[in-house]
């Protein structure tokens, strides 16, 4: 009783710590617009559409970026009343509590149509079972058990180095395409194709949990831990002295076209074959076993033992498919729309996770030195409608871009936060 009561109390504290861990995502411009659009060009197109990295036809780019963000699918920056908790638990019924985070500090250099980049990236998506999400929200109810099954996740920290090549189709090629379409109402103008290659090396860790626990009473009315045997298991690459670095590759491809001088369309697939492999991972387990003879729970903690799983272990990056369009409303004002589907398919997620994100955005750059951006996006995974904004300060070849999301936090409605800063030298 004494030792095992912590099985219920401690998760409450543990998850609280998790929920305040901070990371971030994407580029400053895309954060301001609400997503990595497939019709937005420049160095930040590396995350949206590899065809548009060299869209603006600049000869040289050197960019430092630092972005990060985190989100979850339940908690807003608000006081959660008891009534709110029931609504949130309805959301948790599908995927439990999801905690997502991403961070990208990095450097990019482009010369002509070729962009070289190297970035540190951190990203993760942790899932907490519906029962333990309820435990976290409401605390424990006596005489019921909370299942750990469905709690799992992956976090990765790696260096992403690579090269992008984006190519503008020649006028002749575009003219051939128009002739092939044979539709006077649809006239293609600028067309781009692009590809990125990523070489990944770093570390990842995965976790999964099983079993169920609760506080209740035995037949004689004595308080006791109830439930069934289970465990929390961690698998991670040992990166001390870079002995067991995980390594892998990924490809992105994309296409883009201007249509009737006023519209643009784009399509991209990111993280094709994206994964990192390592020959062995270290395993740490905390097993909870009920000893029938002693009639008490026993904890078996292997964190102080060096135990390795000597077999190839793979962490798969989410496969991302994007499509979208842009309309020039007036000179200097573009309206953008984007749809992204992300499939989190790592084997640790027993039930894969899929995110659908729809985004609408506007970019006003009549003042070329001060482009302004705003976006509205909805994510099924986050169960959240987010409002974003950003601006750039472009002083000659020196560009500073900022972006923030989610500004619904001003109305205490935000489930996450993203911010980014890009400083680039472009000419």
């Amino acid at each position: 009783m004494r030792r095992t009561r912590r099985l219920v109390i401690m998760p409450l504290m543990f998850f609280l710590l998790l929920s305040v861990a901070v990371n971030a995502s994407m580029s400053a411009r895309s954060i301001g617009l609400g997503d990595d659009f497939v019709v937005v060009g420049g160095a930040e197109a590396l995350y949206g559409n590899p065809a548009l990295v060299n869209l603006e036809g600049k000869k040289f780019l050197l960019e430092f970026s630092a972005t990060g963000g985190f989100w979850n699918n339940l908690f807003r920056n608000d006081y959660i009343s008891e009534g709110d908790k029931d609504k949130l638990l309805d959301i948790a019924e599908k995927n439990g509590l999801l905690l997502g985070a991403e961070a990208n500090p990095g450097l990019k250099m482009a010369i002509g149509p070729v962009l070289l980049f190297t970035e540190g990236r951190g990203q993760g998506l942790l899932r907490v079972s519906e029962d333990y999400a309820e435990l976290l929200l409401k605390g424990n109810e006596l005489e019921r058990t909370y299942k750990l099954e469905g709690s799992n996740g992956v976090m990765a920290f790696y260096l992403d180095s690579g090269i992008n090549y984006s190519h503008r189709l020649s006028d002749k090629q575009v003219e051939s395409l128009n002739e092939a379409m044979n539709n006077d109402a649809l006239q293609l103008d600028n067309c781009y194709v692009g590809i990125s290659y990523h070489y990944l090396q770093g570390a990842f860790f995965k976790y999964e949990a099983s079993g169920e626990f609760g506080l209740g009473f035995d037949e004689e009315g004595v308080g006791e831990i109830t439930g069934s045997d289970g465990a929390v298991a961690l698998y991670y690459t040992e990166i001390e002295e870079f002995a067991d670095l995980a390594r892998g590759h990924a490809f992105d491809i994309g296409v883009y076209a201007d249509l009737n001088e006023r519209y643009s369309l784009g399509f991209s697939i990111l993280n094709i074959g994206g994964s990192m492999k390592v020959d062995r991972v270290r395993e740490e387990r905390l097993d909870f076993v009920y000893n029938e003879e002693k009639e008490e729970w026993e904890l078996n903690d292997t964190s102080d033992q060096e135990f390795y799983l000597e077999k190839e272990n793979i962490m798969q990056l989410p496969l991302i498919v994007k499509m979208g369009g842009k309309m020039e409303v007036i000179d200097g004002l573009d309206l953008l729309a984007n749809y992204t589907i992300s499939s989190y398919r790592d084997s640790i997620y027993k039930k894969g996770l899929t995110e659908h994100r729809w985004t609408l955005a506007a970019e006003f750059d009549r003042l070329q030195f001060l482009p302004l951006r705003a976006g509205l996006s909805y994510s099924t995974l986050e169960s959240n409608l987010a409002l974003s904004a950003g601006l750039g300060i472009h002083l000659g070849p020196l560009h500073l871009d900022l972006g923030v999301s989610d500004l619904t936090g001003l109305f205490y409605r935000s489930k996450g936060f993203n911010a980014g800063l890009n400083l680039s030298l472009v000419f």
């Binding site: 009783m1 004494r2 030792r3 009561r5 912590r6 219920v8 109390i9 401690m10 409450l12 504290m13 609280l16 929920s19 305040v20 908690f75 807003r76 920056n77 608000d78 006081y79 959660i80 008891e82 908790k85 976290l136 929200l137 409401k138 605390g139 424990n140 109810e141 006596l142 005489e143 506080l215 209740g216 009473f217 004689e220 009315g221 004595v222 308080g223 003042l367 030195f369 001060l370 904004a389 601006l391 300060i393 002083l395 900022l402 923030v404 989610d406 500004l407 619904t408 936090g409 001003l410 205490y412 935000s414 936060f417 911010a419």
Partner: protein, 498 residues
């Protein structure tokens, strides 16, 4: 223009800070979370019903009923007293001349006569046997004879009596019905010559009666109708304890068994106490019908019940039993069928009534939980599904103590339920219920939880009623709870602590 751009940048950064905070000032979300630490589980044993309060014998329509006598010694055996009738037939043998044909009632010389000395309007005989003898034997050339009975001048269907070679036969008189005292009998056999054969019938002096319809008062005129019996005052210890605490208004009640048309009165009912100091108590009987109330003259029944020196009563009385046309069976018993002490369901509590549940092991809280307790969290003692359906308020005392080793239940109770170990006392109003009843605990009240080997218990007190107000119960009245636990509520990310 560049200054404006910087101004916008400044505004955006300010907004960022605002966008991340919650209304209570913290960063991100804020909510209350509660950890529940189990203490006591409610059970059937922990439930107090009206029957626990008043005993299993309680009849809420009438109140508590304590049976003193069940009629075995108190009833008057009326059927036994009237179970025989005497016959007047001289030497006990009735002699008749055997006739060849059934006679006419007008030919009295051919008939034998039986006189019954008891007045009745209907008599049904019980198990009686008469012997029939035929003489002379040489004239007996028949197998049976018939006996014709004339009751109140009316000839009844004949009784056929088989006659053996020795000239004798048996007359089973069971179920024979008479409606008058004067009975005439004739004996008939085919081929008999009048005057040649004599039939002798030997009858018992007294005939057993199955039932008789008569004037009971007249029949009992010379009978003894006094009764004497003993009553044991063997009160359940629990009831005796309750009698000390609760102000009841008990009644001594008699239930009379009677017959249709019968009137029974009890005269000179006297109770003499048994014990160290016998005392004679005269009574008055009130009430109509079969239920009578006995008033003790100059004595309080409640005082007698509370007196542990009184072990019972010797009771004497005289029955007055009348009724002009009453049918009495052989087994009829009348008179006092039951004596009981009846306590109406209204009463007041003059001393606290205390119930305590068995102390339950809580064990020792782990270090993490103890730290939570010390963390200035909002703590409460919570009782779930708490219902006090009694017509009075109930006080609940929650006790917590450190008791090491393998203590017995008695040891736990002795050491747990002390004033020093009481962590909270709660009063629950009458006829109220709560799905969840939280009581805030101050930091000091949480200190006992830091001890090892904890036991928890609950004492339920029905407090003394100083105003003398009387309580009235319903059958479903009970006091129940499901769970008792400690809840620790903390605000996650809520800015300054409360």
């Amino acid at each position: 223009m560049k200054k404006k751009a910087l101004l916008i940048l400044f505004l955006i950064l300010s907004l960022l800070l605002t966008a991340c905070s919650n209304p209570e000032g913290g960063f991100g979300p804020s909510w209350d979370i509660t950890a529940k630490i189990p203490l006591i589980k409610g059970s059937e044993e922990n439930k107090i019903t009206v029957y626990d309060l008043l005993g299993e014998d309680v009849n809420l329509e009438e109140g508590i009923s304590i049976s003193l006598a069940d009629g075995e010694d108190t009833l008057y055996d009326l059927g036994g007293e009237l179970s025989t009738v005497s016959l007047d037939i001289g030497d006990g043998t009735l002699e008749l001349s055997l006739l060849p044909v059934p006679p006419d009632i007008t030919v009295v010389d051919d008939l034998g006569e039986i006189k019954i000395d008891t007045q009745f309007s209907r008599l049904v005989l019980g198990e009686n046997l008469a012997t029939v003898t035929i003489e002379p034997l040489d004239k007996v050339d028949f197998q049976d004879i018939k006996l014709y009975i004339f009751d109140d001048g009316q000839r009844q269907d004949p009784y056929e009596i088989p006659i053996g070679a020795d000239g004798k036969g048996q007359w089973q008189m069971d179920g024979l019905v008479f409606s008058s005292n004067d009975i005439l009998i004739a004996a008939v056999a085919d081929n008999a010559n009048t005057g040649e054969v004599t039939v002798s019938i030997d009858l018992p002096d007294k005939l057993l009666v199955e039932s008789i319809t008569c004037d009971v008062g007249e029949s009992l005129a010379d009978k003894d109708t006094t009764i004497n019996f003993e009553l044991d005052l063997d009160l359940d210890e629990k009831i005796r304890e309750e009698l000390e605490k609760v102000e009841f208004w008990p009644e001594l009640v008699l239930n009379l068994a009677t017959l249709e048309g019968l009137e029974i009165n009890i005269k000179d009912l006297v109770f003499t106490t048994r014990g160290a100091k016998p005392e004679v108590i005269n009574t008055e009987i009130e009430g109509t019908g079969s239920k009578k109330t006995v008033e003790l003259i100059g004595k309080s029944l409640l005082d007698l019940l509370r007196d542990p020196g009184i072990t019972g009563f010797n009771v004497s009385a005289n029955y007055s039993i009348t009724g002009e046309e009453v049918t009495v069976n052989r087994t009829s018993k009348v008179g006092i069928e039951a004596i009981r002490i009846q306590i109406p369901y209204e009463f007041s509590v003059k001393e606290d009534i205390v119930y305590q549940v068995n102390g339950q092991e809580v064990g020792s809280l782990d270090q993490d939980t103890r730290e939570l307790l010390q963390n200035r969290l909002e703590a409460a003692l919570v009782i779930e599904d708490l219902y006090n359906n009694f017509p009075f308020s109930v006080e609940i005392g929650v006790y917590l103590a450190s008791i090491s080793g393998n203590p017995t239940e008695e040891f736990i109770e002795e050491n747990l339920y002390t004033e020093a170990n009481k962590i909270k006392s709660i009063s629950i109003e009458q006829r109220t219920g709560y799905k969840s009843f939280p009581v805030k605990l101050a930091s000091k009240e949480l200190e006992p939880f830091a001890q090892e080997d904890l036991y928890a218990g609950v004492k339920i007190i029905i407090p003394r009623n100083a105003t003398g107000e009387t309580y009235k119960f319903n059958e479903e009245d009970e006091f129940t709870f499901n769970l008792i636990y400690i809840s620790l509520t903390g605000k996650i990310n809520g800015g300054e602590e409360k």
